[in-house]
């Protein structure tokens, strides 16, 4: 009897503990999500109600040329950033990890500083450095292509340049994560492997890489989600131009909702983006886990 009553009280306590979270979750996530889904079936403006128009928004979306450009750009941007930034972070972390005490701290600060900067400062810095006329990096372009390049106004250079800016901006955080992962690998494993006759290469391939894999998978997944949500840098550096060639989904949402007052249509696009991120990231994380499952 007493046990049963205790159990019930136990349940009540548990419920009361998660209730605040549930309430906030419902308020700021579930309800807006429901509203987005509902809105996407209407022709509502940004503010106010609209009429139910069924799947019209989606039909329109799938014949919208900019939608396809955006999807393609989102994918291209992911290719340009996710794996490169992870690899770069890994190389930097491995190098930093070999520095001793004070130098390590100094190197970390240097690599982490860009991450602290607000996005508008970052884009200002790079807009200045890559300026067509007096950008300090233009000689590099001149050296390779023979002439200066207005990178943010050139359809071929615009996304790769934004990718470089993004990697420079966010890489410090990945370095930190990977460094933490490296420090978690016990040194005596390296000593045992050294006694077993491992070369530097083998140490990396057979100890560091497999034991770092959980962290690497985490970084890859976080990066994938983050980079699919690309908006600020494009908005501030190219505004989707030139000729809409650097449009991405979130920029499209912004334009439809806030510039063209198409609330319903913007909701449909956001929903597609949401599903895309959810599916791709879950898929990727599962794939990475399976990849790891082989040798865990």
């Amino acid at each position: 009897m007493a046990i049963i009553r205790n159990k019930r009280r136990h349940g009540l306590v548990a419920l009361s503990l998660i209730l605040p979270f549930l309430a906030i979750f419902a308020l700021v996530f579930a309800y807006p999500l429901y509203e987005v889904v509902r809105l996407s079936f209407t022709d509502a403006p940004l503010i106010g109600e609209g009429n139910w128009i069924g799947l019209d928004n989606y039909v329109r979306l799938f014949s919208d040329r900019i939608f396809y450009i955006s999807i393609k750009n989102n994918a291209y941007f992911v290719v340009l950033t996710v794996i490169p930034t992870t690899l770069i972070a890994m190389v930097i972390a491995l190098a930093v990890n070999r520095l001793s005490g004070r130098w390590q701290a100094l190197a970390l600060v240097l690599f982490f500083t860009p991450y602290v900067l607000p996005v508008s400062v970052v884009t200002q810095i790079w807009a200045w450095m890559l300026d067509f006329q007096f950008g300090v990096l233009q000689p590099v372009f001149t050296f390779f292509t023979g002439k200066p390049v207005p990178v943010f106004k050139n359809p071929y250079w615009v996304l790769p340049s934004i990718a470089v800016v993004t990697i420079w901006w966010t890489n410090g955080f990945n370095v930190l994560l990977i460094l933490a992962g490296l420090r978690n690998i016990p040194t005596d494993l390296y000593e045992a492997a050294a006694l077993d006759g491992a070369t530097r290469r083998q140490l990396f391939a057979r100890i560091t890489w497999p034991l770092l894999w959980p962290v690497t998978a985490l970084v890859l997944t976080l990066q994938l989600i983050l980079q699919l949500k690309l908006f600020d840098q494009v908005y501030l550096l190219s505004e989707g131009g030139p000729f809409n060639t650097s449009y991405v989904l979130l920029l499209m949402v912004y334009r439809e909702a806030f510039q063209l007052n198409h609330g319903g249509y913007a909701a449909a696009i956001s929903l597609i983006l949401f599903l895309l991120i959810a599916v791709v990231s879950v898929l990727q994380y599962q794939l990475l886990r399976i990849g790891r499952g082989k040798d865990t």
Binding site: D188, A192, G197, A198, Q202, D295
Partner: protein, 357 residues
């Protein structure tokens, strides 16, 4: 098979001298144990033999070959770590075959060697498991298996049993002795546990503060220690020490006044003059109650072990004295009595700790 020889070996970490001029030799095929209190540099010395720490000075030879500057993998040594250092992402079989894989040994050779090691260590049923699915004792055996597979000339163990519970420790101790008989390789074993050292070793090397205090067969260290440190470190319960002054000498016997009583000590060399300060050491099993003479003590606690008991007593000057009784069941708690030991079983030390023989 080869022995290990250290000549004037030194090691400093920056300003800190951890190993100060160690010379010793572990003959080939022998089981040598480095023992000493925590922080005395045992692990450092072992890691220097393995090549995991570089040598500040001196020479390390393995099998007559100077390996002081040779990299770890080329020294012909295998090491078993206190933490086992198993590769968590590899199975037991892969852990044991790791070194063979690195050297690209053919598959059938790898499998054969792993199978043989697994048979010796009774791991055959666990070859496909990950280390995380093993018990402490099994992990320890995998670590040893990884060493066996490499067929090293010298095995190095750094406190391999300290993470195991007492019962398993005793069992693994026996298995290690058996393993040593079976493969006959030179083994060097580090521990701070003198019981482990006594039971495993052919030769014990007692370290303190970066010096070898004494080395030799376990029983010779027990019976004939060179200094007060070794005398107190080897043996459990530890040797009793009392300080006193020589009152008279004759016939190779010195009579010493100590703790409100007297003890006789037999000495072969020159006898110290009357009035000399001296420290006497007596093992618990040599002390027994006497009618008169000896030291007056008051019994405080008795540790009953069944076959024997250790009586903890306090001398008139407040020193702890432990003595052993066998086969007597009457209790002595709280009693005052006198205890003494035969003169030839009493050891004498100078105030600086050196043995007076």
């Amino acid at each position: 098979m080869s022995g290990v020889k250290l000549t004037n070996v030194r090691k400093s970490f920056g300003p800190l001298d951890v190993i100060k001029d160690v010379s010793l030799e572990v003959p080939k095929g022998e089981f040598g144990v480095f023992v000493g209190p925590s922080g005395c540099g045992k692990s450092t010395l072992l890691r220097m033999i393995a090549g995991l720490e570089d040598t500040t000075g001196g020479k390390i030879e393995i099998g007559g070959r100077d390996v002081t500057a040779v990299e770890p993998a080329k020294r012909g040594v295998a090491m078993v770590f206190q933490s086992y250092a198993l590769y968590p992402h590899l199975s037991v079989a892969e852990n044991m075959a790791f070194s063979l894989r690195l050297s690209r040994a053919p598959k059938h050779e790898r499998e054969e060697k792993v199978r043989e090691a697994a048979r010796i260590l009774q791991l055959t049923d666990h070859l496909d498991k990950k280390p995380s699915a093993l018990s402490g004792g099994q992990r320890q055996r995998v670590a040893i298996g990884r060493a066996i597979v490499r067929e090293p000339e010298v095995f190095l163990f750094d406190e391999p049993l300290s993470n195991l519970d007492a019962e398993l420790r005793v069992q693994m101790r026996l298995e290690l002795t058996r393993l040593h008989r079976q493969i006959g390789a030179t083994m060097i074993y580090v521990t701070h546990d003198q019981v482990e050292a006594m039971t495993l070793a052919d030769d014990i090397y007692v370290l303190k503060g970066g010096h070898v205090m004494q080395s030799g067969r376990p029983l010779s260290l027990y019976d004939d220690p060179d200094n007060r440190f070794v005398a107190g470190f080897i043996g459990s319960p530890a040797m009793n020490f009392v300080t006193g002054k020589v009152t008279g000498t004759g016939n190779g016997i010195a009579r010493v006044a100590c703790a409100d009583g007297t003890l006789d000590v037999a000495l072969q060399g020159a006898l110290p003059g009357p009035g000399a300060d001296i420290i006497l050491g007596v093992r618990p099993e040599h002390l027994a109650p006497v009618e008169e003479g000896g030291l007056p003590v008051t019994v405080e606690v008795a540790e009953e072990l069944g076959g024997s008991s250790f009586i903890h007593a306090r001398s008139a000057t407040g020193a702890d004295i432990v003595f052993e009784r066998r086969g007597q069941r009457d209790r002595l708690d709280g009693q005052s009595l006198r205890i003494a030991a035969p003169a030839e079983n009493v050891l004498a030390f100078l105030p600086d700790g050196r043995r007076l023989r």
